[in-house]
């Protein structure tokens, strides 16, 4: 049984259909890459799955249950983890406190009113563990706002790890990272994949990365799912070649 399924999932912004009747199922323990040109609707599709955006039509099924009507907090509590493309942190809190909050969310003691948060050493230790996994231990006491872009991306990922979800949604996790920072994130994704029981959705433009990590690739253009299959087969498709080439040209232009 698929762990996650979207059926005819659709969202409209005024007259513009950003995600158009996407039907797709994700098997547990697999890594699916989602590719497509900028503005294709990949982030919007993620928003519909994790609940940041209500769907105009269609449904989202998680572990066999319809979660379409649930808010993002309840979907997270059910096991949907999300790292955002546009870094979305608690800027004036320390790096450690950012992760500690995620650990606390996972531990479900948000309504513990009478104990001191600073005395929950188990939660703090766990937070340190996840900081270690994204190589941010040295920055633990820095405010999130003071981190470099690359470090903020890592912290973004650490928050998702700390939630210990069943499904990890990475939205361009390495975008804008320097070359030496990228492996930290890719190794991490690989580690999660190796563990075997976790499901991963990965939006990523770097086709070499996608080919190496993905079990399957789906392609979105203009909000529509246009291709779905084995990486080698999908990469060879003209639509993907087109999109991929477009990105290559743009990156070359920027660089």
């Amino acid at each position: 049984m698929p762990i996650l399924e979207t059926r005819e999932l659709t969202v409209r912004f005024g007259g513009h259909i950003a995600v158009n009747a996407v039907t797709c199922a994700f098997e547990p323990g697999t890594l699916t890459a989602i590719v497509g040109p900028n503005g294709a609707g990949k982030t919007t599709y993620f928003n519909l799955i994790s609940g940041q955006l209500p769907a105009t039509a269609g449904s989202v099924l998680f572990k066999g249950e319809d979660v379409t009507a649930l808010g993002p907090d309840r979907r997270t509590r059910r096991g949907i983890g999300r790292a955002f493309q546009l870094t979305n942190l608690f800027p004036n809190l320390t790096v450690l406190e950012n992760v500690r909050l995620a650990v606390q969310a996972r531990a479900r003691n948000g309504v513990d009113l009478f104990s001191m948060a600073s005395r929950h050493h188990d939660l703090i230790e766990k937070a340190r563990h996840y900081l270690d996994r994204v190589a941010l231990t040295a920055r633990a006491r820095t405010h999130a706002a003071a981190l470099s872009h690359g470090d903020q991306r890592k912290l973004e990922v650490a928050l998702m790890l700390a939630l210990e979800p069943d499904i990890f949604m990475f939205d361009e996790p390495t975008a804008g990272m320097s070359v030496d920072e990228v492996p930290v994130i890719l190794d991490l994704i690989e580690d999660i994949k190796q563990a075997g029981d976790k499901t991963i959705l990965l939006v990523e433009h770097k086709m070499d990365v996608v080919r190496r990590l993905a079990d399957r690739i789906i392609v979105l253009t203009n909000g529509t799912l246009v291709a779905d299959g084995e990486p080698a087969a999908v990469v060879a498709l003209p639509v993907v070649q087109e999109a991929y080439l477009g990105i290559r040209q743009r990156e070359a232009g920027n660089g």
Binding site: S50, G71, P72, D73, T76, N88, F90, L93, L113, L163
Partner: protein, 358 residues
């Protein structure tokens, strides 16, 4: 228990602030002996009560970011709870207990309802809704004469232990007569200390950290799995319950309650809001300092101005400028100056300077 345990790990983090807080605490602890006299004792009591009230508003405004103008309503509910219980039931501890429990129940229900509504309304409309609710409560308090005594309010008696007629000791202690007023003061002082420390604990608990996270980035807090409705509503209820307790203390201290004593917009704006903002939102220590400063100003600014005005008699303009009737003008001026120079409040300002870090 360690100091960190008592303060829930939330140290003042500024040497000047530490000194001010310790001085304030000691002054209140020794108030009946340091500042003898009925008026001074009344001022000290009022400071204690407003410390609880302003701190409770800080949980709502500063820690949770809810701009509610209905906080004085909860203060009034607490005061009316006691006043109505003590005028309708036989005077005694049972009536006092009943009054406070009934008031807490009413406040809890109202605050829960407000919390759920807050999620449906945009911030501005929500604030206006609380304003409307507060007006409605005030109108109810003045109109339901049979229950509330209308504009005149309710005057009532207390158990003998809490009255001036009661003698704790036969002779004076350090020159001060140990009567029921002193007993009342120390009960209020003790309750204030415990409630303040409890609030300090709550804002530093895992729950308090979630409030901080919501204030920082509500979208992300929700994405982490925290329910915004639950946390905001609970924070609102806690703030309301604390304000209710402060109101109950006010009624007991005054042995009276009426609309202007506890529920008015003057209390909401000139006291609660002013104390919290001037002291420093989201710090709890700030509203404590704010309460001390504002209550002192309310009591001593006017007489102080009368003295100044007298001193300048015969000179042009000055006597009129310091006319006691202009004290609100000076309060307003004080407010503007403090907000302009300390936008993060006194505590925010004190904590900014690394040199002060203790």
């Amino acid at each position: 228990m360690t100091l960190d345990g008592i303060l829930s790990g939330d140290r003042p983090r500024s040497r000047v602030l530490s000194v001010l807080l310790v001085a304030g605490f000691l002054a209140l602890l020794g108030a009946p002996f340091l500042f003898p006299g009925t008026k001074a004792l009344g001022v000290a009591e009022r400071i204690c009560i407003f410390i609880v009230l302003a701190a409770s508003y800080d949980i709502v405004l500063g820690y949770t970011g809810i701009v509610s103008f209905a906080h004085a309503m909860f203060f009034g509910i607490g005061a009316y709870g006691e006043a109505i219980a003590l005028t309708t039931l036989p005077v005694g501890w049972g009536a006092i207990l009943f009054g406070v429990v009934a008031a807490l129940a009413v406040s809890a229900v109202l605050a829960t309802a407000i919390g759920f509504v807050s999620l449906r309304l945009r911030a501005l409309y929500f604030s206006m809704m609380t304003l409307a609710l507060a007006s409605f409560a005030l109108i109810m308090a003045t109109q339901l004469r049979d229950l509330t005594g209308g504009e005149d309010g309710l005057t009532f008696s207390l158990p003998r232990v809490l009255t001036p007629a009661f003698r704790l000791l036969d002779g004076p202690l350090l020159g001060v007569r140990m009567d029921g007023r002193i007993v009342t003061y120390y009960l209020v002082f003790l309750a204030t200390t415990l409630l303040f420390l409890l609030m300090l604990r709550i804002v530093n608990s895992p729950f308090g950290r979630v409030l901080q996270a919501i204030r920082e980035n509500e979208f992300r807090a929700q994405a982490l799995g925290f329910s915004i409705v639950l946390h905001r509503t609970l924070a609102g209820v806690i703030g309301a319950l604390m304000a209710t307790l402060a109101g109950a203390m006010l009624a007991l201290v005054l042995r009276y309650n009426g609309p202007s004593a506890s529920m008015s917009f003057e209390i909401m704006v000139d006291s609660i809001l002013l104390m919290t903002v001037i002291g420093g939102m989201g710090t709890l220590y700030g509203p404590m300092l704010g309460a001390i400063i504002i209550v002192l100003a309310q009591y001593y600014l006017q007489p102080g101005m009368a003295v100044l005005s007298g001193m300048f008699a015969g000179l042009p303009v000055l006597p009129r400028l310091f006319d006691p009737d202009r004290w609100l003008l000076w309060m307003g001026g004080l407010f503007v100056v403090i907000v302009y120079f300390f936008p993060t409040g006194i505590v925010g300002r004190l904590r900014e300077r690394p040199a002060n870090d203790g």
